[in-house]
Amino acid sequence: MDTNLALILVLTPLLGFLVNVFFGKSLGKTVSGAIGTIAVAISFVVSLLLFNQITSTGKGIQVTLFDWIQISNLKINLGFLLDQLSVLWLLFVTGIGSLIHLYSISYMHDDENMHKFFAYLNLFIFFMITLVIGSNLLVLFIGWEGVGLCSYLLIGFWHKNQNYNDAAKKAFIMNRIGDLGLLIGMFIIGSMFSTLDYATLQTAVAGASDLNSPLLSLAALCLFIGACGKSAQIPLYTWLPDAMAGPTPVSALIHAATMVTAGIFMVTRLNFVFDAAHDVQNVIAIIGGITSLVAATIGLVQTDIKKVLAYSTVSQLGLMFLALGFGAYEVAVFHVITHAFFKACLFLGSGSVIHGLHGEQDMRKMGGLRKAMPITFWTMLISSLAISGVPFFSGFFSKDEILMTAFHHNISLYVVGSIASIMTAFYMFRLMFLTFFKEFRGTEEQKHHLHESGSLITIPLIILAILATFGGLISLPGNSWLNEYLAPLFSKAAGEEHHLGTTEYTLMGVAVLGGILGILIAYIKYFKQDNVPESDENITGLSKVLYNKYYVDEAYDAVFVQPINSLSKFFRDYIETGLSALVFGLGKVTNEIAFQGKKLQSGSIGLYLFVFVLGMCAIISYIFLAQ
């Protein structure tokens, strides 16, 4: 029964993929979209059933299908683990996934390859489910690389544009740098504990005598490098903003709500490994903090609506890693969920705007859309309030918990996180004011066609906005359903929750004031003073550095890409030619020896006699001298 349920869960999206690949074109756009959506919806229903089962029994379900890879001290099977963590992830992956599929039916309707879009989306859901429910690290790795592949396919969905293809390729390769880290981490863990299976590993780690050993720390660090790739953390974050080349539903689903949270999932899954490697936890917290701040500063000046959201995503992921670094896994998971709601809503909202403006993404050419697109406006406003941490919206609770955790562990990282949060409030409302208020700054043609999107687009927006509003209820301070639900996963005592005291209320007040401050600055600058960001060539000074993302891409290009290409040319033009000439040279030398030898065979009797006599003399003198 459980096996069947698990198989339905995984295989339905795969079936949807296959149907759309082989028959999608002939089925027509609407049918192909419907099939894709239903496939994911079925997985969602199964996830609900599983969730129900898990909450009532409190026990995880382990499903083993068959032996997969055999290595002397490791036996790796293809199996699933459906427990509190994986089912929780399943719920929002398939839930938000269904909504975004629904949205895409309308959004992608004008694209001639719509069936392929749905095929890839279904394939993505298949791999994402595999990633989440795998019972060992290697099954996770199937999903891990599989979602990377889908990300590649979907970023480069409009494959006639080579810039998009570049972005897709960049995402895949940067992810693969992380993947090598993940593999090496697996190798170390495999040789230390002779298993990659989560359940066995947990027991093995708990029983290990030398915790905090350098080798285990190295493993944890390598795993974290993997997480950095997938979840876009410094130094492997630059692919995510470029990934916005993909259609907007993809940005919402893959590059905001689900795939990029895989790194957080993996770290949470292996919490017992990271708990045993404190130095690595510190690294995670620091990297997370810095990423959240750096990305937020870049977000301050971006003018492309999707780029703002992309940097915001990187920044929010940074906050989640900040929490992970302090061992506050349940807090990170909480923010993953609320972030999935409001960020998916924001991206889909931006998609609605872009759709309404026929592809325009530059906020400098928007403005005043509030009246024409009321639903889009209100849902995005709610989500912006949520991400800014305005009280009682979902983001308020989750972000507050992260900052509070940081405060108790490390004041400087708390300050970093708080500044990033203020900046978040600022750039989100900068986005809102520039997009929806004041006068429309686009063309007359666009203005004429302004309209609210259809119901397939607005319904998902409304549902997500509701979730973004009330999502915080799952983990209220002091009375957290989520913490209780996840408690079986973590080794630490449940009593570590924060008691609400004066400090906590003060911190909350500071955070709220910070958020309001950010909103206020945006209000003054972009509403009161009616500023519009300068055109590209007029951006100067610090803004220019930020606008150009600290020139990190250029630096990577100069330090890694160019040298490797030059080396390749050098090898090709000099070493290869040289080696080849060497082999031919050997042949030539042989030829030359033969040629010189041939001269001796001249037929001259005189020469032969001379050599003969010389030889005789040599032999005779050798005999005499030897005696």
Partner: protein, 480 residues
Amino acid sequence: MNVSTILIILLIGAFATYFSGDKLSSKVALLFSLAALGCSILLLNNYNAGENISLITSWINQPKISFALNADGLAMAMVLLTAALTPIIIFSSFGNEYKNAKAFYGLILFMAFAMTGTFLASDGLLYYIFWELALVPIYFIALIWGNGDAEERRKAVVKFFIYTLAGSLFMLTAFIYLSQKANGSFLIEDLYKLNLSACEQFWIFLAFFLAYAIKIPLIPFHTWQANVYQKAPTVGTMLLSGIMLKMGLYSVIRWQLPLAPIAAKEYMYVFIALGIAGVIYGSIVALRQNDLKKLLAYSSLAHVGLIAAGSYTLTLDGLRGAVLQMIAHGFVVVGLFFAAEVIFRRFETREIAEMGGIRTQSPKFTSMFLILVLASVALPSTFNFVGEFTVLYSLSQINIWFAVLGGTTIILGAYYMLRMFQHVMLGETNSKTFADVSLNEGISFAVIIAVLLFFGFYPKPITDLITPSLETILQVINKN
């Protein structure tokens, strides 16, 4: 029935093809190659049922050479690889016209015969004879039916022939020395029993190494490879890269390591490092290649480097991963060269710069090519991942840095393959029309892809087949 049946079918097939005339020859060749495949599967069945399918009869008395074919799991795996790839290779050539087709297809079957013999032979000299015999057909195939400037081609092919022949002569010398020690016997089990001094083993190891390093090829002995791959007809390139280079890798495991185990252990690090250097070097050179077939040649160089490194770890994981990867690479590289051929049939070019924008015109071909590209970069759920993961794991057990450096193939491989795919397939629609794959072409791709995906999820049958023989070989290696 024993394994000699496969050899007989292939040999008769070679002659039958030649005498069937130009029109029929391709179909006759396909028929015989399929018969050989069927026979191999039958024999595998018998072998798994515990039947003895090996054969030993005396052949020549002075020197004492036996006609000994020993089919253990490892040999059977390689025979099956050959038997499965040969019909695919022949079938994939159905879209091409060849002058003197009867000789062309006859030579292909003859080559399959010699390669199968190489994998099966368990007498040193018999093995050597098959080994050299395999060189003859590919020499003519590349020379006569190859492409590009005739003089350039002759230069490349003759270099290849003499170079590999020269390497093999060292191996012959080693065999003669070994048989002197073993009272004139060339039989592998007699040679395995020898107790050679470390010094003797060093020279034996080196002699075998020269033969195999050139054949596989390992850097810096690879200079023949790219040019021959480029200039040979695609069928020849497939035979070379899909099967023939595995002869070298297989021989490392079958002959070199167990015959000189002390030397193998002593110099393990050197040879692992050499293999890994090949991974990095090959990948980097592949980045900036303008010719599609040359790019694939260098990618092959990188992959075999990793396989060799796995073999030289002398661990069960390393050997097992190496053999799995040999098989996986055999299939994927044949598929990739076929993709290059499919493009050549339509655009008549191998210059990557002249391609691009194919995807819009041929969605089916794009999907199949992409799957092959992904298999080549060892995406999990493809067979190649199973092999690559196992090899890298074995390397990590020797020294974690070997795994890190060898693992760069994950990054660099993705870089050069996706870059290639982008420039070949994506971008604005090409001005030249590109007809999507024909049914015949589709079948060849589909078979290869099915194999790669099936064993990607379920490699157990192959693992179970090869593991006992590898354990036996490891026992010989560790006997002292």
